[in-house]
Amino acid sequence: MDETRATHAGESAGESSADGQGCPKRRQCQRGRACKRLVDLECGETGRIECVDCERRTLESMGVRPGKRIEVCTKHPFDGPVVVSVGRSTVSLSRSHARQLDVVTD
């Protein structure tokens, strides 16, 4: 069980560093104060998306992109998905996606 989880995490970590450059905007977001990873937001918290990991093109085409307002609807237990509402859509993101999204909270 834990092994699988570790593989998932390992893959996603590898993905973002494999391209060598990472996300340029990502470094600007100094975590702390108002800027958090989406995964650290509580249910019902809202904010503005600061940066989406550059590899996540599909997320952007689903409308989850920098500058948009985001609200955490629910977080599922056991490392389950995080359901967010962005614009007029409701999207379910996996935990690893939620770790790669930086949000400036209100």
Partner: protein, 596 residues
Amino acid sequence: MAQSPTVLLMGHPNVGKSALFNRLAGASISESNYAGTTVEYTESQLALDDGTVPVVDVPGTFSLEPTDRAEAVAVEFLEDASDPIVVCVVDATRIERGLNLVLELLDRGHRAVVALNMWDEARQQGVDVDVEALSDLLGVPVVPTVATEGVGVDDLRSTLDRARPSSLSGIIDRLPPGVDGDLEGSVEGDDPAARWELVDAVVESAVTYRETAPSLADHLGRLTVAPKTGLPFAVAVLYGMWAFFTAVAGFFTDGYFVPLFDDHWLPWIQSVFPGEGGWLYFLLVGDPAATNSFEAFGVLTSGLFVAVGVVLPAILALYLVLALLEDSGYMARLAVLLDAAFHRIGLHGYAIVPMVLSFGCNVPGVAATRTLETDKQRFLTMTLLSVFIPCGAQLGVMLSLIPQYTGYILLYLLAGFFVFGAIINRLVPGSSPEVAVDIPPLRRPRPSNVSTKLSLRIRGFMTSAVPFVLAGVGVVNLLYLGGVVDWLATVLGPVLSGWFGVPSETVPALIAGFMRKDLAIAQLSAIPMTPFQTVMSVVMVSIYFPCVATFAMLIKEGRTGGGVLRVVGGALATLVAALFLWGGLLRLGGTLLGVA
């Protein structure tokens, strides 16, 4: 006719392309409220004033860089068509992300028309689009539509000949002054950030958002996806579906068809059919002394009874609840609730879609695995569902024969699904990427769509399944006459009684299982067995070899899912292991409990 340009319906998943296709072409393909309803293209003819043109419903894609098999089909289509007319179908309630794809398509130089679908919902949700301004800006015709109601479809048809290409730089030039000044440079090429900026600029000048209060469906939609409220609700929904299915199937089968076949049809055909004792009588009528239609086992007795009297009411009930599940938008919510559990077996929650469809019939279930991202996930899902998910026809016969055990058998098979899923996940190499899933709003299923879907599926059952049931009875009877059944019973007897504890008379059922699982289970009824042996043999038949239609589908899908040999070989290895281990475990449990 000269080579007329193809009309391609393209857009994000679940924006109503199939609904629009049906209205445009007068076709009736499946429309549902979940992403990935259409996994294969469908072509039809669209009647215009000057003749007809081919029109294609393309699977939904979020961008032109495909992430799964169904999306790849969409992009291939676009690339292979020569100068197609692209109808970009956009969900007007989420116009921004729709426009992003529109710009991507325009950037590739395609002639396009934009259909702003779900126009009614957009108005209700406070999304006001200035259609004229948007059309002027984009440089292509824009038509508001409500595909499910047929609104705007005629307009769309008549604008097709005005489809034209448009350049992104042209759009930038047409932006009204003051709107987003920093869009100086060109957005040509593959720069998503710049394209999004252009989307924002277009939206700013053509769309206004009003604040609206969330509707009842919005609230309900949220509650059903939150774990605390959603899980009890899901249990209630699934149990309710099961209760409805069993009640309706039982009502028709036991109430009407059993008396009809047992009291009237069977005695009548036994007495009037000539040549009792001959091979033809054996083939078509079966046992002249049989008193119920399960046991007679002739093509015209058991064959007809199983197909029409037992399976038809069952799948009618099952397809009805499945249609409600598909159209309400609840399926995606189930996917989210079950996501964590599916992660343990290397899948994600959206694997629930092929799984749920498999309860109707394994064949569309296997096809629906195309929405999964990797070969590993497709292999896992295809194999597990063809081994462990009993189809509606099979469940119907089980309910008719052993109603008191059917629920438990189903739970035992589902447990097998997850146990073997976890094992295969460890053994099979490959990745299981994490996905983002779009959750559609909850919608009231439309009766007209539900009934179209039902009649489509029932027609499919009558034309493709019923002949197989009848032929299956015939084949088994021929093998009887040829002595093959007795020979196999002698050969397999030791394994059957030694490992599984069932009599060797179950061999004909195993043969019938190659053709149809429902038939195989019907055949078990004629064998004198203890209740445990019956349960045991039903579990065996369920796990054991997929029916021929599913097997053919595995071969077909294996080609695009990692190679036929790999997929079919892996599936066979799994089913042999599952049959002996999961079946053996059941017997062990039975022995320990003292019921075997």
